[in-house]
Structure formats: C-alpha cells, structure tokens
C-alpha cells in the first residue's frame, strides 16, 4: 500500500479499513465515495481514507460475501456502484468489533495512563 503523507490525519492500518467499511454500511447502502466521506466525517476528520486503497478493500469484502453491490443512482443523479451489508457481513462486523475493542483496551493497558 502506498503511503503518501499528505496531512496530519492518521492513515488507516490494513485490516482496520475493512472493519470501518462494514461499520459505515450499517446505516444503509452507500457508494465508495460516500463510504470514504462517511469514515472521514464520523472520525471527526481524524482518519484519512486513501481513495485508491478503498476499492481493492471493497472488492475483497465483496469476494468474501460480506457486502454485496449493485449499480444505482446517487443523490445528485450520478450512476454509482452501491454497496450493502450482507448477513455474513453483519456477523463479521460484530466479531471484528468486539475483537477490536479488546485489542484497544489491551494496548491501552500496555501503554499505561496518558502522561500528558
């Protein structure tokens, strides 16, 4: 994955992007551009989604049948490919979420209380 630093925002680790995509789609079908914007917005602009990396990730999730896709029309009348969460995707999201929370807690404990 190419890593070009463009601003102060955090790049997303591989593996976590999948989780974020699944999470975003829980609010309903969305196209790739919408997903990228939604991640950025809901993370209070802290997370940066590299648009080029998004599509292979979507492709991967689709192949694992965690999301499905079909062409539709966007709110401003453009044709776009819309992705929706499948039942398997929902299960995967639940699993990954609890795992992530445990990990975050563990890392938090390892790093100890914030110093500043």
């Amino acid at each position: 994955m190419s890593t070009r630093e463009r601003d102060e925002r955090l790049e997303i680790l591989q593996g976590t992007l999948d989780l974020l995509i699944l999470r975003t789609l829980i609010f309903g079908p969305q196209h790739g551009h919408g997903i990228a914007l939604a991640i950025q917005r809901t993370s209070a602009e802290e997370l940066l989604v590299e648009h080029g990396a998004l599509y292979p990730a979507l492709q991967r999730l689709e192949e694992r049948r965690w999301i499905s896709a079909k062409w539709g029309t966007s709110s401003n009348n453009r044709r776009a490919r819309f992705y929706a969460l499948t039942a398997a995707g929902r299960r995967q999201l639940a699993k990954e979420t609890s795992k992530w929370k445990r990990l975050a807690a563990a890392i938090g404990r390892v790093l100890g209380p914030e110093e500043a």
């Binding site: 593996g15 648009h51 490919r81 890392i107 390892v110």
Partner: protein, 860 residues
Amino acid sequence: MSRRSDDDFASEIEAHIALEAERLRGEGMSADDALAAARRAFGNATLARERFHESRRTLWWDDFRRDSLYGLRALRKSPGFASVAIATLALGIGANSAVFSVIQAVLLRPLPFREPDRIVGVTRNQSLPDLDDIAARSGSFESIGAVHFRALDYTGGDAPVQLKAGLCALRYFEVFGVRAERGRLIGPEDDLARAGRVVVVSHAFWADRMGSDPGVLGRTIPLSGEPYTIVGVLPASVRLPGAPADVWASELVVEPRDAPARDVHILHAFMRLKRGVSIERAQSELHAIDRWLEQAYPDENSGRRRDLEPLREMLVADSRRALLVLFGAVGLVLLIACANFAGLQLARGSSRRREMAIRGALGAGRWRLVRQMLTESVLLSLLGGAAGLGLAHLGARALVSLRAGSDARLVPIRIDAVVFAFTAVIAAGTGLVFGLVPALAASRLDPQAGLRGGSGGQSASGREVRLRRALVVSEIALALMLLAGAGLLIRSFRNLRSVEPGFRADHVLTMRLELPEARYEELSKQRLFRSRLLDSLNALPGVDAALVSELPMDGDALTQHFVIDGRPPVPVGEAPEVLSRTVTRKYLRLLQIPLRAGRDFEDRDREDSPLVAIVNQSFVRANFPSGSAVGARVSWAPDPGKPPEWMTIVGVAGDVNHFGPARPEEPAVYDLYEQTPRRWKRWMFVVVRSPSEPATLLREVTARIWELDRQLPPTNIRAMSEVVEGSTESQKFNLLLLGAFAVLALALASIGVYGLIAYSVARRRREIGVRMALGATSLAIVESIVFGAVRLAAAGAAIGVAGALLVTRLMTKLLFGVGPRDPATLAGVVGILALVAVIASWIPARSAARVPPMSALRAE
C-alpha cells in the same frame, strides 16, 4: 460469484472521481481544479485497477506468496530451528525415497520390453523337445523361446577367460521383442549346424574386447575351442532375465548332445501371449498339453506340470517381502522424523505467541494465522524433501553397490519422475499434516494473553502439555517397533552364522574349472587331466588338494534319479531323486566332513576296482530308516534298456549345509571322479587346504593349472570362508538395511525425546525454582522429571510392544531360529528405550536442578 469486468471497475472509479470533483466544486473550487484534485486524492487509478485485477485471479496465490516470503524471513531469523527441522525431515524423507526408488525399479516400473505384460515364464526348467511340442500344439502363444546360461572359455585375449554365454532356443529374442544394435540376433535359423557357428556379442564385449570395431560383423572369435562368427551386437540398454551375458549363441549348436535330449531340463522357457489371450487361458491350454506329453513320453514327462507365471512375478518373487518390510521400516523412520518435526514446531509456536497475538489483534483471522504457520511448515518440509532427494540419490547408489549381483533388476534403480513425485507428495503431506496440530495450538489464544505474556517462562497450557506427551509416547512406540524388527533380524543372522555347516571352511582355497568339450571329449583325457592336476598340487609343500563337482553353499546342486538294489522296481521316470556329488578321494577328509559309519574313499578305490559310493546321513534317514546303509548297493537310474551300474555304499558322511545355513541338507550320494562313467561331468571345483592364508596360494595353483593347460581359465576363485559368507548374502543385505534404519530411528527418537523433555523442563523453570525455594532438593527435582519421562516411555513401550507383535509377524519368512514374538528381543529393545528415556530426561533435569532458585524465579 459472477465475474466482474474490467470496464465495470473502471467506470466505478470514474464515478468516484466525478463525485469527488462535484464535492470539491461545492466547496468553491473551479471545475478543472476540482477534477485534478479529485484525481490526486484518488491516487494512482491504474494501480488500483491492477490491484483489482490481481485480487480477482490470485487472491490465494497472493496470500501464499506473502506467507512464503514472510515464512522464509522468519526461518532465516531462526537458522538453528530451520536446519534441525530440515535435517530431520531430510533423513526421514530421504530414506523413504531411496527405498521407494528400489521398489519403483523392482516392483512398479514396467519391464523394459515391448508390451511386457504379455511375457510369461515357465516356473520349472524345460527340455527343448518338450518345448518344440508345446510350440507345435499350442495356440495361445505368439512366440516361445528359451535360454540356458553357461560358461564358455574365450581364448582370443591375453589370458584365457570365461565368458557367460546365453544359449538361445526357439524364438528367444522375439519373445522379448529385442532388436540388434548391429547385424542380427540369434534365431531359429541358427539352430541348423550347417549354418555354421555364429555368435552375438554384448555391447560391453564389443566395446571392451573388440575395441568397438565397426567391422566386427564377420569376425571370428574362439570359444571353448571352436571358432564362432560374429553376426550381431546386442544393445547395451537391453537387460534380459538371468543376463547380462557376454555372448549369445544357439543352444542346439553349442550343446548338440544335451539340447535334443527330452530328459535334460536345463532351459528357462519364456512365452509371449497372443494379444487378448489371458494367462489363465494359456495356462489351461498348457496343462492340457502336459497331459498329452505325459501320455506320449511317460519316461520324461510323468507328473510334469508346467506352470506359467507373469515375468515380473518370476523376477521379484523373493525380494517382494523383504522390500515391503523395508518400506514399512522407513515408513516408521519417517513417522519418527515427523514427530520430531511436530515437536520442534510446537516449541517454536509457543515462543511465537506474541507475534501471533499481534497479528491476530490487527485483524488476521485464526485461519489466516494457521495458514501462515502451515505455509512455513510446508516450506520446511519441502526443503527437507529436496535435501532428502539428494540423500536418496546417494542411498540408491549405495543400495545398488551392496547388491550388485542381484538378477532381479532389469530396470535400473534411479530417481525418476515417479520417485520425484512420491518424494514431493510425502514432503508436502508431512508439512501439512504435522504442521497442522502445532499451528492450531499456536493460533488458539486470545490476543490479550498473548500480548501480556513474555516469550517464555509462563507455564504451558494443558493441551500443549498433552500434545508433547503424546509425541514422546509415539516416538518411543515407533522406535520400539523398528528396533524389535531389527533385533529379530540380528538374532536370525547370528543364528545363521552359528549354524555348524558340517565342514571346516578355514584355510581352504576354491576355484572352478570346466574342461572344454572340444579338447576333453574323451573320458580318458578328463581323467588324465584330473590326476595330473591333483598330483601337481599335492606336491606343493603342506598342501592338500581335492576336487568336488558341487561345492557346498556355492548355490549349485545337481539332482539325479537313483535306484537301490533289492528294492521293488519303480516305473521308469518315477525313480526318486537325490543330490549327486562327484569327488576325489581326499575330499571328505580335506573339508573335515566327519564320517559317521563305514570307511572313507581310499587309494584302493580306482578306475578299475569295484564301484563305491558314500551317502550322507539324510540319505540314510530317508532310505534306510531302520538299519545300516553300508554294504547296500545304489545306482544312478540307468537309461532305458541298460543295466544299472551298482555302486556299493562303503560309508556314511555327516550332513553339510549344502544350500546355506537356512536350509537343511537333503539326501546326497558321493561318487568318485576316478570311477564315474559320465563324460559330461567336465566341471569341477578345485579345493586346496594349506596352513597359510588361501590367497597366498592363488598364484602357485593357477600356475600349476596352466602348466597342464594354458587355455583353461579358473573362475569363482574364493576362499571357502567367503563362500560360506556368501551364502547369507541376502540376509546380510536385509539386516544391514533394516539395522541402518533402526539406528536412524533410534537416533531420531532419542533426539526427539530429549528435545521435548528439555523444552518442557525449560518451560517449568519458574515452577522448579518455586519448588526448590520451598525446600525441594535437587535430587527430588531430578527424580520427578526422570520419573515422569520413564512413565511416558513405559506407555510408549506398551504401545510399541503391542504394535511390534502385530508387525513382526509379517517378517516370519525372513527369520531363522527365532520366532517373531521372541521375548528376549522385545525385552532388550524395551531396555534400550528405557535407557534412552532416562538419559534424555536426566540431562535437562540435572541442569535445571543446578540453577539457583532465585535466578530461576527472576529469569523473565
């Protein structure tokens, strides 16, 4: 999933860029700037398309490649682990590939003939007139041929040498579908004597003795006193059953007396079945012909049945069982190597917990981690397999040189594509199967525990401990089975070697001579040569010399029909058979074969004195069960219409192990070269005893022979002790191989058990420290560790003994003088493994108990 097109993906990207540009315009950018920024934000669209492409086709391959590269990096970081694992597997896999390459050559590869499945052989030797009748009366065979191997003297070189000659009858080469390299081969047209004596030479003979002369066809060579014209050269690639021979000629031409005789059964017969004819059909037709022959020629054919056997069966009959036992043995070696491999990976897996935990935390699923470990395992096993293939190549070469004289091998032993594939499959299979359990064990953990824990020191999970114990138990059990097999063979071999052969073999030199018919047709010439030879040899200081027609344990035997004076006459052809041995007067004394009754041959037994014979004890048991044989008269069954030539039995000699120690002696009659009227017995073994080493006498003895006949080549020159050793050659071969595998198994199992116990002790460092801090003595620590190991070994031994009792039954036919369930052998083997367990646990236990408790507790 239906395939998504490239265009579809491209238009999705375009849509994305358009949406982004629109958004940026909404923020007040100009249209052009917005589009450029959108493209910039997307990054490299082409790259994304490429990634899309790759992921579609090769998601798994991508993962595999990544795993492999990661695995290789990881292995490079722990070269000790990698090299031990690879070496262990190389030994296990290499031994298997080597034995499999022999099995492939002997049992599996098609024989190197055109449509080899159609070639069959007759199990017993045949006479040419019978075969002629069969050829005329049968409809199942495309061609029938026969061969008889004998020695011919070649006097065209510097010193006379004996060549191995294949004498062909009927359509021998046609049966095998063999063609000449130059000229032609021997066929039925050469059987007519007026065609002149012709010979086909082997490629090796043509190259070595004729200097690869391109004009070799038409050249004449002297063979046993007769000139033969070379008409062809046999290709080097052709291997025929019983060969390699140096020269090939017509049976009828070389053996004009024996070949046309219906009662001389010296030919190995082979047939090529007609296309579509089954061996069963051919067999029932042949049995019908047997019955016809029996009626037409009752003298020679009563009770004679001819059984057909596929050529392959004929060639491998004896070696199949031994090969399969060896294959089983290397299978066990491989299993032990695999257990070691699994143990190594288990240890490595638990030291990699942290790494696994981090990867798991970052989103890698459990299957993904298992796959990573499996990939590494398969990488190792494939590397081990590659190294094993190298070992197998060396091993196969060693096997070939160990058994250079074996006839059964028409197909050369080498690492061919099938052996290669076999190796690849067991290597990959080993990596998958024996990597799976450790991989599952290592990946089964929750990230928190993994991240929290150190790299060692914490106590292992119960599941892992059980797994390690299971490995120790199975290594002991497997090694025990293999050692038991090898132990039984060792005992058999010792029994074989300690059998009293019935004669003294030390300080005796032997060699074979055969008087060529061309110069020694008359009996008087043969007798003159023999008496002059013996006089000349006995004149050497300290030397005793005698002659015998069939040397004990040499492999050759001659049986003849015989009759006993005063017994009711038996129908012609049904007279019992007995081993016939023709000797000179000193023979029994020289080999120190004891006399059990009567007298030995003496000087008064001459050509013109009454005929005498000595029989062996088996003969007395079989024919005079209640009484003395001395004084009775026997005769070789006379030709029809002729009176018997009675020989008076003057003595009874002790039995000798004529067929080697594993087979009991059969009834035999000794008669005298001085008295025998049989002109065809022109061969003899010269037997010379002297106080000095046999080899030192060789030059003198051959000089004396050549004084009498410059053109006579002595062959089979050996000390008698070598002859005796040679009689246990195949047992020695089996013993050496199985013994080597057993040693390998023992070494692997010892290392494996040591490794597993040492590792578990290391994992218990902290616990041991606590116990010692609480007052346990180091002796108590050592005791508890050793005791634990011995308990595991006992469980392994119990399983191993049960397995050995099942498995060694298959070896019964390879054993001698010891049963397959020999308790002494099993006890010895159990003792060896108990010792291994004690040593393997005592060493790590002692060093663990020596560490001061505080430093053990602090070690983290």
